[in-house]
């Protein structure tokens, strides 16, 4: 341990009378009153019991008051978010790959053409932002139902749980936050009473701008609109993408993207390079997750006594952790580039063909999917006219 704050040197001396320099604690340890407040526990074969004492020389000055400002570190709460806990959290969070392809059981969505799935993803991004609130919540329910129907139980529970939590937090924060502060402080015009105008008459149909009041917080119609848009958009984007990734291989997605991007190649867009980069990224993401988890587990398995480390030493361990991750990732990148060279890749994506398996779609699934897509888009358009 490299402590730079103060240096202790322990040396046996002949018996000395008790001095104020050594504050004897009840636990039998010697508590130095210097910047490092932790007691130095004596070994079982204590020097004191053998008639000798340890004398520690401090390099810092002491005001002699004991328990003063220099002991502030001791008062900091410990164990609230320990370094060990943080590393374990990191290791656990990166243990389950995010939205990886689930090959079995093969479902209806596995058979849908990936190009149609990409159109679906686009629609799920646009519709919640542009359609009626009922349509937004309808889309959320539709996606949730589809996930439960299509995916294995543990997969949909994991995915829906995370996305619902995130969307829920967004909904509450934006619902109460977007219009929560009384507009008086923002208003640039005087209230109607000051200019002699009558107040706006109350609605006969029961309309009220304020939906709910929770103490100082107000849930208004504006808040509802903002919150529902943001939360539904978040839900549909995340869950739609998850659903797509779990039922489509990366190569199928790449082939669909390539199909859509092909016209851009006529104007000089490096489509082949983009597709290869996408595939390498999809492979590399998992390597990064593996490295983050492995190095975190490596540190946890060393069973470091974090309580004995100073703040600087703990930070030093975390910096070493990050440095190690980057080093390993760069090594991976170098090795993979070597592997690509040895496997015949010469840097020209147009000359090196990437085998993107032809889609395993069937006509019926595609037709049904397209019909559903058109139905939802139609309903969204009509909802603007029919629902006030």
């Amino acid at each position: 341990m490299n402590c730079t704050n103060c240096a202790f040197r322990t040396a046996p001396f002949a018996p000395l009378p008790q001095t104020p320099l050594l504050n004897r604690s009840p636990a039998g340890s010697l508590r130095p009153s210097c910047r490092n407040p932790r007691p130095l526990v004596l070994p079982k074969r204590s020097l004191l019991s053998s008639g000798r004492r340890s004398l520690r020389a401090r390099s810092s000055a002491e005001d002699g008051s004991g328990g003063g400002v220099e002991r502030w570190v001791e008062r900091l709460p410990r164990g609230v978010l320990g370094a060990d806990k943080v590393l374990r959290l990191i290791a656990n969070a990166t243990a389950s790959p995010i939205s990886q392809f689930v090959a079995a059981p093969t479902t209806f969505l596995h058979s849908v053409d990936p190009r149609i799935k990409l159109v679906w993803l686009l629609v799920l991004v646009v519709l919640p932002a542009r359609s009626h609130i009922i349509m937004r919540f309808g889309l959320v329910l539709y996606l949730a139902f589809l996930s439960v129907w299509i995916l294995p139980r543990h997969t949909w529970m994991d995915q829906l749980g995370r996305v619902t939590l995130l969307s829920g937090i967004l909904f509450i924060m934006l619902g109460f936050g977007s219009d929560g502060v009384p507009p008086l402080v923002q208003s640039r015009t005087p209230p109607p009473a000051m200019v002699g105008l009558p107040n706006v008459p109350p609605s006969f149909e029961g309309y009220s701008y304020l939906i709910m009041k929770l103490g100082p917080l107000r849930f208004t119609r504006k808040g509802l609109s903002v919150a529902s848009t943001a939360a539904c958009l978040t839900f549909t984007i995340f869950q739609g993408a998850s659903l797509c990734l779990t039922t489509t291989t990366p190569e199928q997605l790449a082939s669909a993207l390539k199909w859509y991007m092909l016209p851009f190649s006529y104007v000089g867009a490096p489509v082949a390079e983009i597709i290869l980069t996408l595939l390498l990224s999809l492979r590399f993401i998992n390597l990064v997750f593996d490295e983050v988890r492995n190095v975190a587990l490596g540190i946890v398995s060393r069973r470091i006594s974090w309580q004995k480390l100073t703040m600087m030493e703990t930070i030093d361990v975390f910096i070493s952790y990050i440095r190690r991750i980057f080093k390993n990732i760069f090594t991976h990148a170098e090795q993979i580039s070597q592997a690509m060279i040895i496997r015949g890749f010469r840097g020209d994506s147009n000359k090196h063909k990437i085998y993107l398996r032809s889609t395993s779609s069937n006509g019926m699934a595609d037709t049904v999917s397209l019909l559903c897509l058109m139905g939802i888009v139609g309903a969204a358009i009509l909802s603007d006219y029919l629902i006030v």
Binding site: E251, R283, N286, A339, I341, R343, F345, K353, I354
Partner: protein, 283 residues
């Protein structure tokens, strides 16, 4: 036993006439290839290369330290491996086996000596995560075929055959990150087999495998050699039991080739060393 047994005699020819690896050849030596001496003896060389798929003559490799002083990794290594055979390269950790293999693969340039390896050649890394570049099994095995002008059906057929040879044909659509270390290693080998290379350079393939998978992988490599007489494999390993499947073996120590030849002889040599080491420990 003579530890410094002479290397197996190679066909008589001047070592300077062996063509070096273009990747490792210094530019100023290119003219050597077209010298009159080379042209006169070219016919001899061609027949010699028909005998050996891999040749390294007096190969040296060193890396500079921060102070600039060179640290020698390989010291005057010479090996000649006949075509159509499976040879194994053994030795303690840090003796230079993987470095020699990378030089043969063209990934490193030797600081001295000559190297000749038949083409196309393929290299399989010790860690399959370094070898597998695509997100799913099928696409990764097909990656090496991208340089050939094959139809989708041909690619699919070759990929299936290669995966079948290593017992992974049921995993074609599986994402790589869902596979175990041994399964990834098999996918990496399938990638090398699918390319139908003339030379396979395999770096400690069985490190992550259990005994069953280990034998399965060796047999898969052996099968690919049996199918074509042109395929040659050099296999780096630490496991003595794998020598049973080898046609020849090389033992290295401290950057030098110490012993070279029949697998039984190498096995005896290593067992003698182990016995001597145990005796030293007990004394």
């Amino acid at each position: 036993m003579n530890l410094l047994a002479p290397l197996r005699p190679s066909p008589a020819r001047p070592s300077s006439l062996i063509r070096s690896n273009p990747l490792s050849r210094p530019a100023h030596r290119k003219c050597e290839l077209f010298s009159s001496a080379f042209l006169q003896t070219r016919r001899v060389l061609v027949s010699a290369r028909d005998d050996f798929a891999i040749e390294a003559r007096h190969v040296n490799f060193s890396v500079p330290t921060r102070q600039g002083a060179p640290v020698s990794i390989l010291k005057d290594c010479s090996v000649s491996i006949p075509a159509g055979q499976l040879w194994m390269l053994l030795g303690p950790n840090g003796c230079g086996k993987s470095t020699l293999l990378k030089i043969l693969a063209g990934l490193l340039a030797p600081t001295g000596g000559k190297v000749y390896v038949r083409r196309p050649r393929s290299f399989v890394f010790q860690n399959p995560d370094h070898q597998v570049v695509m997100p799913t099994v099928e696409a990764d095995v097909a990656f090496g075929l991208g340089k050939s002008n094959l139809t989708q059906e041909e690619v699919r057929s070759k990929v299936f055959q290669a995966l079948d040879a290593v017992g992974m044909s049921d995993y074609m659509q599986r994402p790589i990150q869902t596979l175990s270390g041994g399964q990834k290693q098999r996918v990496a080998i399938a990638g090398a087999l699918a390319e139908a290379c003339k030379v396979l350079l395999l770096d400690e393939l069985t490190t992550f495998l259990d005994e069953t998978d280990q034998i399965g992988v060796i047999k898969a490599v052996k099968n690919s050699l049996d199918k074509s007489e042109e395929v040659t494999a050099l296999w780096v390993t630490h496991r003595l039991e794998e020598l049973e499947y080898a046609d020849g073996a090389i033992y290295m120590e401290d950057g030098k080739v110490i012993s070279y030849g029949d697998p039984a002889r190498i096995t005896d040599f290593i067992k003698d060393k182990q016995a001597a080491y145990i005796n030293d420990m007990n004394c």
